[in-house]
Point group: C3
């Protein structure tokens, strides 16, 4: 086997069993890689393989080299929420599995991508990959925030083309948090029963979040992003507490996603966001066991606040018993255009069990609402600073 291929269970340099502290073993492997790859042109990185097994992580794994792949053989998801909710004394297994890493300590980060010394001048950690294993916070309960305070992966240093693929995350306060990423790629993951699923903080450049399951962000966000331009967010299934929260996120492509939520606010522009393309998504609002709503029903299933956003060919399906609407007796809001100019809604389908409507707030100007609802499904508070063509 090449010296760049490590198996945590067989590497002879480990001073501890990986089942006892896989984080420490990974750190020792990284130290070994560094001791062998010692010049600017001899650092291809390595792959660290985690075979199926239950591993405890006592020590945070600190990835401070580029081109490192940490890879398992399966995201190993099982629904711990169901396990906790029912009598499981007869179950065959009660833990997640496959390549299963359990974070031991409260408020701990499982995998930290960071560098102690900054080489400056756009030095970055390049092409770090997390693939096909499970990070488990072990124990928590809804709404998981602040919960156990655990974070699965935290990318703290500037990166280029970081990849998170095929991973499982469960029972964490935050599954994945990344700052200052260029061209990140988060695809085909299974994130469930976490307070926050994906947090893109500080700023990032372009990026893709595609084809993921993002399940049960009861108190936090399915996706939070700030200061990004030109991201693609497509083909994701955001379930039960679907929420994309954006601050200064411009020109995102948000297509073909499935949103289901017990709450208002499935896409939220917390600060101004411009020129997003929101097309071909299905938004489903239900009323279930999600606990108290984070926002009332006037908040909007989607809340726009910025210029030139386009909302086309989406379905908005609202199904909350009249008695559960907050505030009581209100007409729930589908799309709230809170502010900004020239937002564009066209050919959206509205379905609802009770009366609902779009709302254009006074500071929104020149909004177009075209075949996206009937006359009674639009409340215009702008004094007519808008264009409307009712669905016939």
């Amino acid at each position: 086997m090449a010296p760049t291929v490590y198996d945590v269970t067989t590497w002879p340099g480990a001073t501890v069993s990986p089942y006892t502290d896989i984080g420490l073993v990974i750190n020792q492997i990284i130290a070994d890689i560094k001791s062998q790859q010692t010049s600017q042109t001899t650092r291809p990185g390595a792959v660290i393989y985690i075979p199926p097994g239950h591993y405890t992580l006592q020590t945070t794994a600190n990835i401070d080299i580029g081109f490192l792949t940490i890879k398992g053989s399966g995201h190993g998801f099982m629904s711990e929420a169901i396990r906790d909710d029912v009598n499981h004394s007869a179950w065959v297994e009660t833990l997640p599995g496959s390549s299963h890493v359990q974070i031991a300590n409260t408020n701990q980060v499982g995998f930290l991508v960071d560098r102690a010394t900054d080489p400056g001048a756009n030095g970055r950690l390049n092409s770090v990959i997390f693939q096909d294993f499970c990070i488990d916070g072990v124990s928590s309960s809804k709404p998981y925030l602040p919960g156990n305070g655990k974070t699965g992966i935290k990318v703290q240093y500037d990166t280029d083309s970081v990849r998170v693929e095929g991973m499982g995350f469960v029972y964490l306060a935050t599954a994945l948090t990344i700052r200052n990423a260029d061209a990140f790629n988060i695809t085909n993951n299974f994130i469930a029963e976490c307070g926050n699923a994906i947090q893109m903080i500080s700023s990032s450049i372009v990026g893709k979040i595609t084809n993921n399951y993002l399940i049960s962000a009861w108190a936090g966000n399915s996706i939070f992003m700030e200061n990004n331009e030109n991201c693609v967010i497509s083909g994701n299934s955001l379930l039960w507490g679907a929420r994309m929260q954006f601050k200064n996120v411009n020109r995102a492509v948000i297509t073909g996603n499935k949103f289901v939520s017990n709450f208002s606010g499935m896409i939220v522009h917390e600060t101004a966001c411009h020129e997003q393309l929101i097309s071909g998504n299905h938004f489903r609002r239900i009323f279930g066991d999600g606990g108290p709503a984070r926002n009332d029903d006037l908040y909007g299933m989607v809340q726009l606040n910025g210029n030139d956003n386009s909302v086309t060919a989406n379905t908005f399906s609202f199904d909350v018993p009249a008695a559960n609407v907050v505030p009581s007796g209100a007409t729930p809001t589908v799309v709230l255009v809170k502010g900004g100019a020239r937002n564009f809604l066209a050919t959206n389908k509205l379905v609802s069990n009770i009366s609902v409507r779009h709302v254009l707030d006074p500071s929104a100007s020149a909004t177009k609402v075209l075949w996206s609802g009937t006359s009674s499904q639009l409340q215009d508070l702008t004094g007519g600073n808008m264009s409307f063509v009712a669905t016939p």
Copy 2:
């Protein structure tokens, strides 16, 4: 190597060569896993690797543990139909390859995911994964149903987050059939020359079927699904006999798919289906070597039957010689709204070599047809219970 990593070609516990009966070897490996993983909290599962090779499967592989990954090194597709149609005496190879599993017996299931004893209380088989190998029915001929009666993978017991990724399926009556799945993920597979490609039977919860090739379901379905809510079906290429057949499938997101078929009925609501979002798909109807049509040309390229479905921004391209239309002289139907209320068609593009039209059946009410055809491209049998804006 960790005790959870098995290679079918090197595992010493096998009583038979994997080339003779890979199913039996896998069952013996699973028995070995069970003998080693014996408590609720010590069952992380394992990975079974199938290196490139031609394997015969005499015995059905029965997966009755969670967190098992069965993985090869390539879907190994080759077109056996082409092989059978031409003189291939000079060909270099005549069988599919890579990690190539050949089902030996008529009416056999290759891989059965099932449990003999039900632990109850939402006990499920979790995170079973099939990845990157080929399942071959060895011999069959169009239309492949009933054909050899072989099934590639049959998931019979309740599962959570089952994954089928990068697989090849060929010459099977049914490639993949799954019942009672929660959060399944079927992506990047290559399914060709099978009677049915993907069958989601009984019921399922959410799910994703994305980025697959589903080729040549001449007699069956590319995708059959019943009793599902909130599934995403996107980015698939359904070729030559494209058909998605649905029963009580609600709120599906069906976007960005390529449909090409020799037959009518590329999306069919066999029973009522509500609130589907069908957007950005390309439907192409051709006339070729598909054999006798399953439905006549009044059946509809798409047949809706339910409430509040949205059909937006699709292209419908019809190209059948007038002489081949059935019944003779009929005007073929593009979208048939067979029943249901408030179905919504907008900004769809129609292309055809002969006159075609949408049809609203008498029991359909309040359908909207907006910029989806000219006046002559709509037949309204509802007595005016609809809204129409002709494409100008």
Copy 3:
């Protein structure tokens, strides 16, 4: 380990170190495979693994067998352009990494898929797979064409279901060129700093290009394709010099892509292309460091030339300083319908810092422009042979 699993670093048959000439080692491995797999029904192929490392490729690797997987552990991208632009003396590493193959010679092909002898009668190379490694042209400078003349992968012989997945390509004149492919699959790759990213030449049947980063085709194309029908091109991020150039490409599905370019011409019909579906894409035109424009600003962000193309639910965002428009003082063109009948634009969003407009050339007939701009945003040179509904 099975005899079909090779590791370039440990295979005893190599006559040279893979670090010195990985191409020669791969050719020797292929010769070994051929010597072991000698009949039509005993050729399952093999997998060749490239562990993380810096490898030089002196000899072109010639893949002339089917079912071969060449696989690494990471695309290993790092931005060599940034490396070359800044003082990187303090950087930790200065080369791409992971499984990193460096093409040694000017005008060389890295990996050639070709067969010396054609077995005829639809004999093809089946299911060749390139996965998860990096091909590096080592040195080049903008605009990379003709540059070093190097090609990453060249598929010269007819193939069925070739797959290129998770690969990195950097500093090549052309990353990937494929001719005569049936059902190709190019997904989740990272192609940057190359003259051309993906070239589908001669002809191909169906195909998928999905979820890729295609960055910096400053002089060539992000995607070039000719003589194809029924391709899916979705979810890609085409950055900085985004360009899809088509000749006789019909019925493509082009959805959910992110285009950003310093130039005009993000989708170009070089010859007639019919019935393409272009929906839910975000086109962003900027002015930056791209060097002299390849086309002036009257060329169109999108240039259609063919019949029955549909352009729906896209955002077109134009942001070039007035002083930089070419020709000086011109009104830039958003969609140019250069020719063809019945092209269909609906519900597209226009954003721009200066006046822009769609243009219908005299030979375009019966174009529909519906809610895709205001009256002042359409120049009709057809004498009224079109339909227009202004965005209200």
